[in-house]
């Protein structure tokens, strides 16, 4: 304050030259080749037995457990207590109590359909391919969604500090169109392979209580889990979001030509409406796309959990783009103060993710209901266990302890490292959300996973940098531009 008040922002334009274009294109090509090789490898090695898999529980056996007799339930429950509580001896001592608790489940699961899901088609290597495509299309799409949400929040909150970064957010949200098309295509084409409820509702047991395969839980969710949700509801939401994004972007570009508050006010109104719609639609989409992979499972925290993943990883991507541009000599007018604040946001939402994770885990652990714990059983008492803890460390503990210091939030190197840790951590997070419910104990980390991620990263980077080069790097006539350029909280 006082000293060097900036009164004019020097305009810049990002040059998306041929050499820079080559990087995402190479990333895509190499990724696609690696993914192809990985898929071939997976196909070859699919029928070979896995040595180390001992007590892994995939979705199918978990379901089978769910539908066995009461005696079997008790066994199942003991395993759970073993996982989440610790001592197996103790579980035995309290088998009686467990019995009483488990009886509760019987209200949901009738014991007569022991072989209910025996007709499930087994996971094949194609399941793994589709699951990977779903993972990456959803994960990269989340970056765009959170960027759009962040723009809207900044408008509604009348926030000025991040205006210098607005074009980065807009560029990031430009992946919304490509991402939505990819996501919808993959959902549409892969739905039979990915979602076992799709098979169930296509089968003879659906809507027929006399059928031994009749599934009360799935039937009770039929209002949401049905084909018209995939065919109509998802595209409806995606189109609305895309329209809002287009409107906000057009306003932003038009503002460069026309000084005044008209565009700002218009964008604020659109943003307010969008946030209202987003809260409902994002929840519904996260249930439909991800939670329904484990269609028998319930969690009221799930959509918040997805939002936490989306927001913190979106902020990390924003930080990566900003640091990339700064390293290339662009955006030098973005002060350390703004970078510091973005770092604070990253830190805050790491903690938010940890909080939401605990909120979901703690309640399920305490109540210990089989139909809820089965979700963590498949993730914690199987070969996914190391990833489960890697996820906790990379998404919460490491960034929490690193970004806590003031110096860390002002150091480009530390911020880069933290952002990459968060992004890889949340990739693992998505992996844990998707793989146990689809591929089960055959899930692996290999060339297929790496290749698919690289290919999607290539598409994402190309789209974002292309959009970035289309407009000035600073929104010239935004009323808060100078506030952002002079942003200073005095610490």
């Amino acid at each position: 304050m006082g000293h060097h008040t900036i009164t004019e922002v020097r305009q810049e334009k990002f040059d998306f030259s041929g050499r820079i274009k080559l990087i995402p294109i190479l990333l895509f090509v190499v990724g696609a080749i690696l993914a192809g090789v990985g898929a071939m490898q997976a196909k070859k090695s699919w029928d070979a037995p896995r040595a180390e898999v001992t007590n892994a529980v995939n979705d199918h056996s978990a379901e089978a457990n769910n539908h066995e007799t009461q005696e079997a339930h008790t066994d199942h429950h003991q395993t759970l207590t073993d996982t989440h509580g610790g001592s197996a001896v103790l579980s035995d001592a309290h088998a009686e109590e467990n019995h009483a608790e488990v009886a509760h489940t019987e209200t949901h699961v009738s014991s007569e359909h022991a072989e209910a899901h025996g007709n499930h088609h087994e996971a094949t290597y194609m399941t793994r391919v589709w699951a990977n495509l779903l993972l990456n299309s959803y994960y990269f799409w989340l970056f765009a969604v959170s960027a759009l949400f962040f723009i809207a929040v900044n408008y509604v909150a009348n926030a000025g500090w991040a205006v210098m970064l607005k074009r980065i957010m807009e560029a990031q949200s430009s992946y919304l169109l490509v991402g939505s098309i990819l996501l919808f295509t993959i959902l549409f084409l892969g739905r039979d392979t990915l979602y076992h409820w799709v098979n169930y509702f296509d089968g003879s047991a659906a809507g027929n209580p006399q059928d031994p395969g009749y599934d009360t839980i799935l039937e009770s969710k039929h209002w949401l889990l049905n084909n018209s949700s995939i065919f109509f509801f998802i595209p409806f939401v995606l189109i609305i979001w895309y329209l809002v994004r287009t409107k906000l972007r057009r306003n932003s570009i038009a503002e460069d030509e026309t000084p005044g508050l008209d565009m700002f006010k218009n964008s604020t109104r659109w943003s307010a409406g969008f946030i209202f719609f987003f809260a409902f639609s994002f929840s519904a989409l996260s249930w439909l796309i991800i939670m329904s992979l484990d269609a028998h499972w319930y969690s009221t925290m799930f959509s918040v959990y997805n939002f936490a993943i989306s927001f913190v990883s979106g902020l990390s991507v924003m930080m990566l783009i900003l640091q990339y541009l700064k390293s290339k000599g662009y955006m030098e007018m973005v002060s350390d103060e703004v970078v510091h604040d973005l770092g604070k946001f990253m830190f805050a939402f790491c903690v938010f993710w940890g909080y939401i994770f605990l909120g979901q885990w703690l309640l399920i652990w305490y109540t210990n209901l089989p139909e809820e714990t089965v979700y963590f059983q498949a993730r914690l008492n199987s070969h996914f266990k190391p990833l489960f803890f890697i996820n906790l460390f990379m998404c919460f503990l490491i960034p929490f302890l690193t970004l806590m210091m003031r110096g860390a939030k002002r150091s480009p190197k530390v911020l880069l490292a933290a952002a990459l840790t968060i992004l890889v951590g949340h990739w693992v997070d998505m992996y844990l959300l998707i793989m146990p419910g689809t591929v089960g104990n055959k899930a692996d980390l290999g060339l297929l996973e790496i290749g698919t991620t690289m290919a999607f990263a290539g598409i994402f980077i190309y789209t974002v940098l292309h959009s970035l080069s289309k407009a000035n790097l600073y929104p010239l006539n935004h009323p808060y531009l100078l506030e952002s350029a002079n942003h200073d909280v005095g610490v």
């Binding site: 304050m1 610790g86 001592s87 103790l90 703690l362 652990w365 210990n368 909280v489």
Partner: protein, 209 residues
Amino acid sequence: MVDKSILLDNKKFTVGTFTDSDKLLHAVETLRKKEVKIFDCYTPFPVHHLDHALGYTRTNLTIGAFLCGMLGTLSGFTLAYSMNVVDWPMIIGGKPQDINVFTSFIPVIFELTILFTAFGMVIMFFARNRMIHGIKEDLLDRRQTDDHLLLAIDNSEEQSLSNDEIQSILINEGAVKVKGNVESFNTSLTTEEDLEIVIGNNEGAAVIN
């Protein structure tokens, strides 16, 4: 941080009164460039970068806060562990009574971490600033708690410039009032004494009270 008492007893000050925080900041910078030692600034609101301009390094309070937090984490864990595992194990929800119930310790650990950090910060802050209960509130000017910003220079300190030169710099920098020989007073005086000093302190200024 510069080690000094906020007790201003028995000291005479050259005081520049400002009404604009930017002017105060600039005056501090100018004086420090000429190697004038500034005793302190008194402002009714935080002025950004004033601490930096006065040459204060960043506070170590954050490290203290972190240590307090760690202490809270340890206390929370010890509390929960000694109660639920060592001293009086209870079976809750069929859970075992050993380290595997760590999940149920997390809320306790979380709360105690925050409690210790908050209390630790408050206690350390007051202790470091010597704001002990019963301390006399020393003021150089009544309006330093209202809308005026003071720049105080200790007359007993060796300065590179003469007192007159310092005063003329302060005036040039936009001080609304400069006085060469101000003594502090404190608000625990009686009303009559108080008023006398206030009037004495504010000769020529607008009526106060």
